[in-house]
Structures are given as structure tokens and as C-alpha cells.
């Protein structure tokens, strides 16, 4: 038997074996795949962040190990990240509250990284806004506005609550940050992962399907 004949015979045998499995079908739902991918990405980024900041202390490693062996992807840390430009509060139920200070220039990389750590897939851009056509439904389930706490002072920074568990599979949040005169505008919407277009024009304030955070009072 020459090489070509042998190759053909093996190919035919493998094809027959493969075709005998026609009834075998994947049972894992798409949502489960995406959930596992998000959990893994969160773990990887947390690990990378710890390494890059040199914060691999024994206690932190132990805490991470607990998270890795847990493996469900549903555990959320509760804590607060406070920067000059924003405050991100993570709650134990998996939601997060984001407050943006319109007077301080937002660093998109920092916000995106911190959102990722909280299991919120997001794309943060400055000077552009990205959206999908058609736009994924469900933004109102994912993002809600926080009422301004009474007695918080004359300047109330815009605050939203994000529930990543409500995000449809294959979507992420798009944050577009624009500098205006003396203040900033941050617009956000849901986009299909890997399928969107970006524009340098800020969306109008009342555009359906887009939430825009601004605070003219703070900008005065």
C-alpha cells in the first residue's frame, strides 16, 4: 500500500467514525459558555493585575486560590475602588455602583480594568462612542440610575448601578467619555461583543437605548 492509498484509507475510516457520531450534539447552552468565559477572564485579569502591581502577598495568593478552586464564577468581591474620577462600589450580590466625577478627567483604561475585575465586560473609550446596529436589548435591566442621596451636598455626581448578571450573552457595555466645556459627558449602551462601530460625535442626551451621565451643575 503506497502513502496516498494508506492516507486515503485512514481518512475514509476516520470520516466513517466521525459520521457515525451524527446524533451526538453539544448540550451545553451558550449562556453557560459565556458565563465560564467571563469568570475565567476575571480570574486571569485579577492574576495579571496582582503580578503587575507586585501585590502577590501570601494572603492574597491564598484568597485567589480560594476563588480559583471555587470555580463557579458567581462569587463576587465586595469592596470599593476610589479614584479621583470615579468610585466603583462592588456589592456581594454581583452588582456594582459607579459614580463618576464629571470634573476629573476619566482614564478609560483604569475604569475598564476595574469593571472587568467586577465581572462587568466593558469597553471604555475617550473621544468616541461605540454602538451596535441593531442594538442589543436589555440596557434598562443592566443599568439603573441611582437617586441622589439627600444631604450629599450641592454637587451630586451621576451614579448608576450595573447588574452584569442581566447582560445578554455576547454583549458588553460601551462607555464613551467626552470632554465638554469644563465638564465631561459619559454615554453608555449595550453592544454586541466584537460587532460595533464607533463615532467621534457624542450621542444626543435623550437618545433611546443610550444612557448619558452628565452634571451641568457640577460643571458650573
Amino acid at each position: 500500500m503506497n502513502d496516498d492509498t494508506a492516507l486515503g484509507t485512514v481518512r475514509e475510516s476516520l470520516a466513517t467514525a466521525r459520521d457515525s457520531l451524527t446524533g451526538v450534539q453539544m448540550r451545553t447552552p451558550l449562556d453557560s459558555i459565556v458565563r465560564n468565559g467571563r469568570a475565567a477572564r476575571r480570574r486571569h485579569r485579577l492574576l495579571a493585575l496582582m503580578i503587575s502591581t507586585g501585590a502577590v502577598a501570601a494572603v492574597a495568593v491564598a484568597a485567589l486560590a480560594v476563588g480559583l478552586t471555587g470555580g463557579t464564577g458567581s462569587a463576587h468581591r465586595a469592596g470599593t475602588i476610589r479614584t479621583a474620577a470615579f468610585i466603583l462600589v462592588s456589592h456581594s450580590d454581583g452588582t456594582a455602583t459607579l459614580t463618576i466625577n464629571p470634573l476629573v478627567l476619566l482614564d478609560p483604561g483604569t475604569l475598564q480594568s476595574d469593571l472587568d475585575q467586577d465581572g462587568i465586560p466593558a469597553m471604555v473609550t475617550t473621544g468616541s462612542f461605540c454602538s451596535s446596529e441593531p442594538q442589543p436589548a436589555g440596557l434598562s435591566d443592566v443599568v439603573s440610575s441611582e437617586p441622589t442621596p439627600s444631604g450629599s451636598g450641592p454637587v451630586a455626581d451621576p451614579t448608576i448601578t450595573i447588574d452584569p448578571a442581566a447582560m445578554p450573552a455576547g454583549t458588553e457595555l460601551s462607555f464613551g467619555n467626552f470632554q465638554a466645556a469644563g465638564s465631561q459627558q459619559t454615554s453608555l449602551t449595550l453592544v454586541s461583543t466584537g460587532s460595533y462601530t464607533c463615532t467621534s460625535t457624542p450621542p444626543a442626551l435623550a437618545t433611546p437605548g443610550i444612557i448619558t451621565l452628565t452634571n451641568s451643575q457640577a460643571a458650573q
Binding site: 475510516s13 457520531l21 466584537g194
Partner: protein, 160 residues
């Protein structure tokens, strides 16, 4: 292409190819799910690949080998020096799965991409990051090993 479209269109093919490699239905499903989860993580890159399902299958096979190596360190397997397919979920094509399972990983990858996913030599070489000539050499050795492991292949040829 959206990830969801890719998953719907490629998941069964990937599962069958990996099942042929590992011979265990539940293990194959787990490995392919891991492969797709990683594809989701890297979708911005994977979506531009010529054959993204080959990427998923390769990840699944590599995950299986990594798990087996880890398991081998943890548990004394005696004379069992290969991942053992079969069990209650063994499929009828278990003979092929067993023969594939005895191939070195690189040969198994080449056979999977070239013969099960029907990719050409150049595409296979690009995916594996090796020279086309190396693909041919691995395929030659793998075919010889499979013929030796599955004697009926030669019988089939004689009867033709």
C-alpha cells in the same frame, strides 16, 4: 460573525471531533465547552481566523493533555501511561478513539486538523505554527501508527 452564531454552527462538529479523540462523551463535552469559553475570551482574535473551530478543537485537546499530566502527577497510574478513553460513555468508534489516543499530541493534532476537519497542509501548518513539511512528516507517521493499531484498515484495502 457573532460568537453566538459561531457556537451554534460549530459546536456539534467540534464535539464529534474531540469525542473521536478522547472516546468519552462527557469528557468531550467538558473539553469542548472549555475550548469555546476560551474562544469567547479571545473572540476579537479568534473570529478573524480562517477556521475558528480548529482553534477550539486544538484548545480542547491541549486542555485534555494538561489535565492528564496534572492527574498523572497526583495519582499513580501504574502501567496506564495514556489518557484512558472508554468507560460507560464509550462510543462505537472507540477503536479509532483508542488508536488516536495513543498518538503523540502533535501527531493527533495533525490527524485531527488534516483528516477530521479536512484542512489542507498549509492551513494546518499555520494553525500549529510549524512548517508544512513537518505537517506531512507527522501525518505520515500517524497514518502508519493508525494502520498498525487498527489492522482492519489494511483488511479493508485488501478486500477492495
Amino acid at each position: 460573525m457573532e460568537f453566538s452564531e459561531f457556537y451554534e454552527s460549530a459546536r456539534d462538529e467540534c464535539l464529534r471531533v474531540v469525542l473521536l479523540n478522547v472516546g468519552d462523551r462527557l469528557l468531550a463535552e467538558e473539553l469542548v465547552a472549555e475550548g469555546f469559553a476560551r474562544a469567547w475570551m479571545s473572540w476579537r482574535k479568534v473570529r478573524h481566523l480562517q477556521v475558528p473551530q480548529a482553534w477550539v478543537v486544538r484548545v480542547a485537546l491541549n486542555v485534555n493533555v494538561s489535565r492528564w499530566r496534572r492527574h498523572r502527577r497526583e495519582v499513580a497510574l501504574g502501567s496506564h501511561d495514556r489518557p484512558a478513553p472508554a468507560g460507560q460513555d464509550a462510543v462505537m468508534s472507540g477503536e479509532v478513539a483508542a488508536a488516536l489516543g495513543r498518538l503523540p499530541l502533535r501527531q493527533r493534532e495533525v490527524v485531527t486538523l488534516r483528516l477530521l476537519l479536512d484542512l489542507d497542509t498549509e492551513t494546518t501548518a499555520r494553525i500549529l505554527g510549524i512548517a508544512p513539511g513537518t505537517v506531512s512528516a507527522h501525518l505520515h507517521k500517524a497514518v502508519a501508527a493508525l494502520r498498525s493499531a487498527i489492522p482492519r484498515l489494511d483488511d479493508q484495502e485488501v478486500r477492495k
